[in-house]
């Protein structure tokens, strides 16, 4: 069985602000971490590997991003994944969800036969939760989002439970398929120091545009991105505000609440 998990390097802190004078984004690009939801995707992949047979199962991780993103692929190997692939090329730059998911789907195809793709339900920087389902559509395979339990791994299908808004649903999905997993499905293991010392260089591969099956540039990066960010702006502010400082603050709150008939 071949499992692929899609992971992403995200900023350690989401504190991005707009410079009020220049309108530029102020962002600390140097502190990064693995997207927290991806840790659950990796853990799920490793648990399924244990169920399906350690010997016959391979867990690959794939990511798209700058070369520094190799760090999250390494972390995935220290957790127990077998190999990692980074898609890095200027032609992938400026990609929105459609172009990102397309590049990842092509990267997955370049790895060979796959049975199951696992993504975290969303990233903490993009926050769209769209990349997983879009990869599935590009590959023409079924998907289940927000999976919170793996119930059974069969020969040619998987049974999962998914947490919808008001219901819990159990689906049986044929391989190959994609699932996105929510926090709490399993507790992610810590990276192993022992494994970190055993990792071989060849276990991480950097692939570029030239390695893709589809070499139509119009499908990647900015060119393959239908959406455009027209502008960024600070959120609107509420001008009718009262700010209290100093003493007797609790009294002021209670009095105001009573005045407004809220108590």
């Amino acid at each position: 069985m071949n499992i692929v998990t899609c992971i992403k390097q995200v900023p350690a802190s989401s504190d991005v602000e707009i410079d009020p004078v220049t309108g530029n984004l102020i962002r600390d690009g140097n502190n990064t971490k693995m997207n927290p939801y991806d840790l659950y995707a990796i853990e799920t992949a490793l648990r399924i590997k244990a169920l399906a047979g350690e010997e016959e199962t391979t867990v690959s991780t794939i990511s798209m991003g700058p070369n520094q993103a190799v760090a999250v692929l390494e972390e995935s190997l220290w957790m127990g994944c077998d190999n990692g692939t980074l898609l890095s090329d200027r032609k992938f730059a400026g990609a929105d969800v459609v172009a990102t998911s397309y590049a990842l789907s092509q990267g997955i195809v370049s790895l060979g036969k796959f049975d199951l793709i696992i993504c975290g339900k969303q990233t903490t920087d993009g926050d769209t939760a769209q990349v997983g389902p879009e990869i599935a559509e590009h590959l023409g395979i079924p998907h289940v989002a927000y999976v919170d339990k793996i119930i059974e791994v069969k020969e040619s299908s998987i049974i999962v439970s998914t947490s919808m808004d008001k219901t819990v649903e159990v689906w049986e999905v044929n391989f190959p398929c994609l699932i996105t997993v929510d926090k709490g499905i399993f507790t992610p293991r810590l990276p192993s120091f022992k494994r970190s010392r055993e990792i071989k260089k060849e276990q991480i591969v950097i692939k570029s545009f030239a390695d893709m099956d589809d070499t139509n540039e119009a499908n990647y990066g900015l060119k393959g991105s239908p959406t455009q960010v027209e502008r960024m702006f600070p959120p609107t502010k509420n001008n009718e505000k009262v700010l209290w400082e100093g003493n007797d603050l609790a009294d002021k709150i209670a009095d105001k609440m009573q005045e407004l008939k809220l108590i």
Binding site: S163, V170, N219, D251
Partner: protein, 400 residues
């Protein structure tokens, strides 16, 4: 109309300029390859800060011609009607209300699209909100949401009707379904929009919080149709009913509704705490670390008959129940009274609370953005104020 690319002018570069450019990029997308070679990698978001703020002429932006689509061939603002087999999700009606406003700008029709195994249950109610056209795919296969079957129907609908825009509720269903349709048509889909507008040229203006939520981004899809967006429940107002006048189109399913997935079981979740319906909410943020801290907030909530809600950091780090999370990735709330305790106010959070009627916020940082969206801001230590406030309210209510 054009899309561009960044061109690096290697001949203008020296090490100082290279270092400057590497540093200026907020996304680590500019790389020093050594030997005076600079490269841009896939981390690039095309913010063009390197063009505007970098050494002049080192990196330039070159427009490339693209073939413009004929937007006049795509007409209508469509809404995906979501239901659970018994009831239509109210977000669908909220979206019809918004679709009417948007369609008025371009004089397009307002369209509803329904997949069901029993159209009689829903037809009349949809028409009562005043849509111009209702397209129905009815089949015993379409009773419960199946992403593959629904995508097949939507594909048929888009090809036949060519709507300019499609809106989906930002529910678990909508957020799983809409991306598949977007990928199928290689078109834009903006998640969790909080503001929608329409340009006269039929481009949908889609605003959403970006980069974790301290910034709003305005997104358009200028050369692809249909343009699509998801919007969370309760972001837009529930519209008034209208005189039914819409035309019903029963669509022929002459395509395969095959699927590689099978629904085995559906269970209702046990009594969910639904903060989105609560009238009074006490929301707590990062400073509430220990059980003792939370207990204080609970006491206040109990006194006010309020629900206790949390911010995302409390869900991610302290394991608070995600169902009680306010914000873009949590619930949208519309209470009469909201009391924010120790919440700084990232847009991610505030996007979910703009419907609150009266907002009190306590925070020790005078400059915290939460005060910009509060009616009453209280600058002070929440753990000093809270016990006193509880005592005050007890006295007022005559509770011991």
């Amino acid at each position: 109309m054009g899309k561009g690319k960044l061109v690096i002018h290697q001949e203008t570069l020296d090490q100082e300029k290279i270092d400057k450019l590497v540093k200026i990029c907020p996304f680590n997308a500019i790389e020093d390859k050594g030997n005076g070679i600079l490269d841009i990698n896939s981390g690039c978001k095309m913010c063009k800060i390197c063009v505007r703020k970098g050494p002049a002429g080192s990196i330039t932006y070159v427009e490339e011609e693209t073939i413009a689509i004929d937007k006049s061939k795509w007409r209508g603002v469509a809404v995906f009607i979501e239901h659970d087999g018994k009831k239509i999700h109210p977000v669908s009606f909220e979206l019809i209300g918004k679709a009417k406003e948007l369609a008025a700008v371009t004089k397009h029709p307002v369209i509803a699209i329904l997949m069901t195994d029993n159209k009689k249950l829903f037809e009349e109610e949809i028409l009562s909100y005043g849509v111009d056209d209702l397209y129905i795919y009815e089949s015993p296969d379409l009773g419960h949401f199946n992403v593959e079957k629904y995508t097949a129907c939507m594909e048929n609908f888009i090809k036949k009707v060519q709507p300019s825009s499609i809106l989906y509720g930002g529910t678990a269903t909508g957020r799983s379904f809409a991306p598949r349709v977007a990928a199928k048509f290689r078109t834009g889909l903006t998640a969790d929009c909080t503001i929608l507008g329409m340009k006269e040229n039929t481009d949908l203006i889609q605003n959403r919080p970006a980069f974790g939520g301290n910034v709003m981004a305005s997104i358009v899809c200028p050369n692809n149709r249909p343009q699509m967006a998801t919007v969370r429940y309760k972001i837009f107002k529930m519209p008034e009913k209208d005189t039914p006048h819409g035309k019903v189109h029963d669509m022929v399913i002459d395509f395969d509704l095959k699927s590689n997935m099978k629904l085995l079981e559906v269970k209702n979740k046990p009594d969910v705490i639904d903060i989105s319906e609560a009238e009074t909410i006490v929301a707590i943020g990062r400073p509430f670390k220990t059980e003792e801290d939370v207990k204080l907030a609970k006491e206040l909530a109990h006194l006010l008959d309020a629900q206790l809600a949390v911010t995302r950091p409390l869900v991610e780090s302290s394991g608070a129940d995600a169902k009680t999370q306010i914000g873009l990735s949590g619930r949208t709330i519309t209470p009469k009274l909201l009391i924010n305790l120790g919440i700084s106010g990232a847009v991610q959070f505030t996007a979910g609370m703009t419907g609150a009627e009266v907002v009190f916020s306590v925070n020790s940082d005078k400059n915290a953005p939460i005060f910009d969206v509060s009616h009453y801001g209280i600058v002070g230590d929440v753990f000093e104020i809270l016990p006193k406030l509880i005592e005050n309210i007890k006295t007022m209510k005559g509770v011991k």
